[in-house]
C-alpha cells in the first residue's frame, strides 16, 4: 500500500509542522541566525587578539630573561587556570572601567581574547620548540638577526605544525563565547536561553542551536584541513 504509506509520511511532516516547538523555531530562526552571526563576529575578533597575544606570550615563555618569562607564565597560568566567566566579570566590572568607558561587546572580546591568548601561547610555544634547531642556525648563519629568523623561517613552519591544536582551540573558543552572554552580549546560546525560558521547548530550541554550532565548527574544521593541505610542501 504505497499510497497509504505516503500519506502516513505526509502525516508525520504535518504533525511536525504544526507542533508548537516547530513554530517556536521557525518564528525565531532569523533571530537565531543573528545570534550566530554575533557569535562568529565575537569569536573572529577574539581569535585575532588571542593569536597576537599568544604569539608574544609564547615567545616570552621561551625567553631567557627571567622577568619576561615570569610575566608570561603568570599571564598563562591565570587565564588558563581560572574560570572564563570570572575573567569576564573581573574585566567587565573591575579592570576595564578604569581604562575606558567599557561596553559589554568590547569587554567580551577583550576577555575572550585574553583567555584564548593563554591557550594559544602554549600551543605556539610547543610548535616553535618542535622546529629543528638547525633551522634557526641556518637562518642566523645567513646573517639574519633573531627577529628576522623568527619571522621568516621559524614561525611559518611552527604555524603549520600547530594547525590541528589551533583548530581545537578555535572551536573551544567559539563555544566558550557563549559565556559572554552573562554581560548581555546577545550571541547565539544566549538567544537560545531566552527563547527557551519563554516557551519551554527545550528539544526544539537547543536542537536548533546545536545544529547551528555544528555547522560553524565543521566549517572551521574544514578551513583548518584546507589550510593544512595548502601549506603542505611534499
Amino acid at each position: 500500500m504505497p499510497l497509504s504509506e505516503f500519506t502516513f509520511g505526509l502525516g508525520i511532516l504535518d504533525a511536525i509542522a504544526t507542533s508548537p516547538g516547530y513554530r517556536v523555531v521557525t518564528n525565531n530562526f532569523v533571530y537565531f541566525l543573528g545570534g550566530a552571526w554575533y557569535t562568529i563576529f565575537i569569536t573572529a575578533l577574539s581569535i585575532a587578539m588571542g593569536m597576537v597575544l599568544g604569539l608574544f606570550a609564547g615567545l616570552a615563555k621561551l625567553s631567557k630573561n627571567k622577568i619576561i618569562y615570569g610575566l608570561s607564565t603568570a599571564y598563562i597560568d591565570f587565564f588558563r587556570g581560572t574560570p572564563l566567566f570570572v575573567q569576564i566579570f573581573l574585566l567587565y566590572f573591575g579592570v576595564l572601567p578604569l581604562i575606558y568607558d567599557n561596553d559589554p561587546l568590547s569587554s567580551a572580546i577583550i576577555a575572550l581574547g585574553l583567555n584564548s591568548g593563554a591557550y594559544i601561547a602554549e600551543i605556539l610555544r610547543a610548535g616553535i620548540q618542535a622546529i629543528d634547531k638547525g633551522q634557526m642556525e641556518a637562518a642566523r648563519s645567513l646573517g639574519m638577526n633573531e627577529r628576522q629568523a623568527m619571522i621568516y623561517v621559524i614561525l611559518p613552519q611552527a604555524f603549520k605544525v600547530v594547525i590541528p591544536p589551533l583548530i581545537n582551540e578555535f572551536i573551544a573558543l567559539l563555544k566558550d563565547s557563549s559565556l559572554v552572554s552573562a554581560i548581555t552580549v546577545a550571541e547565539l546560546m544566549h538567544r537560545g536561553d531566552l527563547v527557551f525560558a519563554n516557551t519551554y521547548q527545550a528539544t526544539w530550541v537547543f536542537g536548533t542551536i546545536a545544529m547551528m554550532y555544528l555547522v560553524i565548527t565543521k566549517t572551521i574544521a574544514l578551513l583548518g584541513d584546507y589550510t593544512e593541505r595548502r601549506l603542505a610542501t611534499e
Partner: protein
C-alpha cells in the same frame, strides 16, 4: 550609565533622565522575551514607574549573576528581576519597598497522591530555582529532615523538566511563575497542590547600596502608580 542627581520634580516629565535597568528575562511572567521585546510584569512596572518619575527607562537583559555587580559598579542604575528581599542580600544592595508578594506553591506530578501540600515534603526529592525563596524553603525542609534531597537549578525551566522526567518529587517555586508554566507548557503532566504559602517572599528593586536618592525616587514612583491605578492594571494584565 545615567544617574539621578537633582532633587525630584514629580509629575514633570520634561527633564528626561535615563534610567538603566537590568533584568534576567528568563523568569516569566515577570520578565521574559517575546519577539525580541522584553515583556512581563516587572517590565511594565518599571516602565510605569519611570514614566511617573520622569525617567527614560532602558532595560538590558543579562545573566542573573551579573545583575548585582552591575548595580554595584554603576553599569546599571537598578535591577528588577523578581528578586526576593532578604537580610543577607541587604548587606550587598539596597531594595525598594516590596512591589509584589509572590508566595510559594508546591508543584508535583499529576499521578502523585503522596504530596498534598507543604506538610508532605519532608524526606522527598525537592527542586527549586537558585536564588528564590523556594530554594531557601527547600533548605529549611532539609534541615528539619535530613533525608530530604534538594536540587537547585539555575533555570526554573530545567527544574520543571526534571519534575516531568520524574527525577524529583516536587518543585517549590513562586506561585505566579509556576502558574504561568502550567498555562504555557504543552502536554504538561504537572499540577499544583496545596495553598500558597510563605508570605515573606516579597520582591524588591535593587539599587546600589547608599543610593538613597534613586531609592526614594523609585519608592515614590511605586506609591504613585499604586495610587493612580496603574499598578492594578498591570497586575490584572499578567495574573
Amino acid at each position: 550609565g545615567g544617574q539621578t542627581d537633582n532633587s525630584e520634580q514629580p509629575d514633570v516629565a520634561t527633564d528626561v533622565k535615563k534610567l538603566l535597568v537590568g533584568t534576567n528575562a528568563t523568569f516569566p511572567p515577570f520578565e521574559m522575551q517575546e519577539d525580541s521585546e522584553l515583556t512581563g510584569f516587572d517590565m511594565d512596572l518599571i516602565r510605569a514607574i519611570g514614566e511617573v518619575q520622569g525617567y527614560e527607562v532602558e532595560i538590558q537583559h543579562m545573566d542573573f549573576k551579573a545583575l548585582v555587580p552591575s548595580v554595584q559598579n554603576g553599569k546599571i542604575d537598578a535591577a528588577i528581576a523578581g528578586m526576593s528581599i532578604t537580610p543577607e542580600r541587604l548587606e550587598s544592595v539596597d531594595f525598594t519597598e516590596a512591589y509584589f508578594d509572590a508566595g510559594l506553591i508546591v508543584a508535583v506530578h499529576k499521578d502523585n497522591q503522596d504530596i498534598q501540600g507543604t506538610d508532605d515534603l519532608k524526606g522527598k526529592k525537592l527542586a527549586a530555582q537558585n536564588g528564590t525563596i523556594g530554594a531557601a524553603y527547600c533548605d529549611e525542609v532539609k534541615k528539619a529532615d535530613a533525608a530530604t534531597e534538594t536540587r537547585i537549578f539555575d533555570d526554573i525551566g530545567l527544574a520543571f523538566m526534571e519534575l516531568e522526567k520524574g527525577g524529583v518529587d516536587a518543585v517549590v517555586n513562586d506561585h505566579p511563575v509556576t502558574a504561568y508554566y502550567l498555562k504555557t507548557a504543552t502536554d504538561t503532566s504537572i499540577k499544583m497542590v496545596g495553598d500558597i504559602f510563605s508570605a515573606e517572599d516579597q520582591y524588591g528593586i535593587a539599587v546600589k547600596k547608599g543610593n538613597t536618592e534613586l531609592l526614594n525616587a523609585l519608592n515614590e514612583g511605586l506609591i504613585k502608580i499604586k495610587e493612580n491605578g496603574t499598578y492594578d492594571e498591570i497586575y490584572s494584565k499578567w495574573f
